[in-house]
Amino acid sequence: MLRKKDGELLEILRGPDELSRDRALTEVYRRAYSMIERMILNNNGSVADAEDIFHDGLISFYKQVQNGLQLTCAIKTYLYSVCRNLWLKRLRKTGRSDRLEDMHNEIVELDNNPEAFLVVDECASLLTTYLKKLGEDCRKIIVYAYFDQYKADEIAKLMNYATPQVARNKKSSCLKRFREMVLSRGETDSSLKQCLETYL
């Protein structure tokens, strides 16, 4: 059963209020972590693994929420299933085990691959260093628009712009600047050049 509070938490996670979002994340952390830590500790993992997997799971969950995830179970049950999936894959990848003993009887069938919501490639990491050079405002706007998937009116509110159109214009000019920066640096930075060649 989806508890009423879970529905409220999803709404907050979807919304553009960062302060409330962080509190909602804290609440989710408080509710779900210990259960997932126990599962990982009992299945060849360490506390560090538990932290790692749980944070990946939470980020994947957050991205899924932005993509319109509808839940029919409690958030912690869903997160458990996401983390279970991620941990099982890591166990298999490292050859430690190919099965997993459950500590929680409510597992839901996932209709997606939680890893697909995470960005793991080196080229994307390389780009983050350039994004940071773009300046505070542009960096924020681009992350809001693509990671948090906030709409123009929401970005306007977060950035204290008078209208959504200001946010739209600002975003376009940030993207344009970034695009030019990437293309010109691509000529001198050999790893960026390689990435661009792979992507384009």
Partner: protein, 254 residues
Amino acid sequence: MPQEFTQEIIDQYLNKKLRGEQLEAFESRLNSDADFKKEIELQAYIHRGANKLGEDEMRSKLKKIRREVLKSDEKRSTETKVVPLARKKKIRSILRWSTAAAIALAVGALIYMLTTYQNMSNVDLYASYYQPYAEEITVRDAGAVTQISQAIQLYKDKKYQEALPVFKQLLIAEPDNAELQLVIGICQLELDNFDKASQTFSSVTNPLYKDQAQWYLAMTFLKQSDLGSASTILDSIQEGEFKYQEAQEILKEM
């Protein structure tokens, strides 16, 4: 003349939110226009970079949240470890006392003992379980930062009488700030202004803080020895909510 796509549409495509006819039109343009395809690929790369940066930022935020959560868990577990021990000892010594009293004194004395114990135990329960709200308080207005840090210092020094008006002042600007509501309620509770404290805790509507407010409301009744109201609220605290375990312990001891 090919259809022009605005940045908004491109973003929707990148965020995988484009559907139906719009998506079809977009994809057919991708297939027929190599320059367009190249441009979108560049933007898709930028999109991945932005997502990676968002993830990195969220990861460091989660590390911070982790510290907070683990810290409050630690506090909770030491509390529950210490409290029952102290309580049992007290009950035992009182029982030993009452046996002696039963032999030595008349029944009236025993009744007197029992009533004292009853009163003691409510105040005692309150004292064992109550702790002032100690989480961080955040205010939206950057100009209020010095004001809030002064008030928090007063609050930490238990100068509730002085801290209260400052918190109240800040609440005017942000009437729905649940953290402020909580500390105001605590100040009122500490100053034995029970009616005001109950009012304040009851007015917390933010779903993220409601369980904490309920806990402190129960503490307010407990401090007044209103066991009926306290137990109703403690009873309503559900598993996974703030201080669930403590609520169960108190209910048992009551």
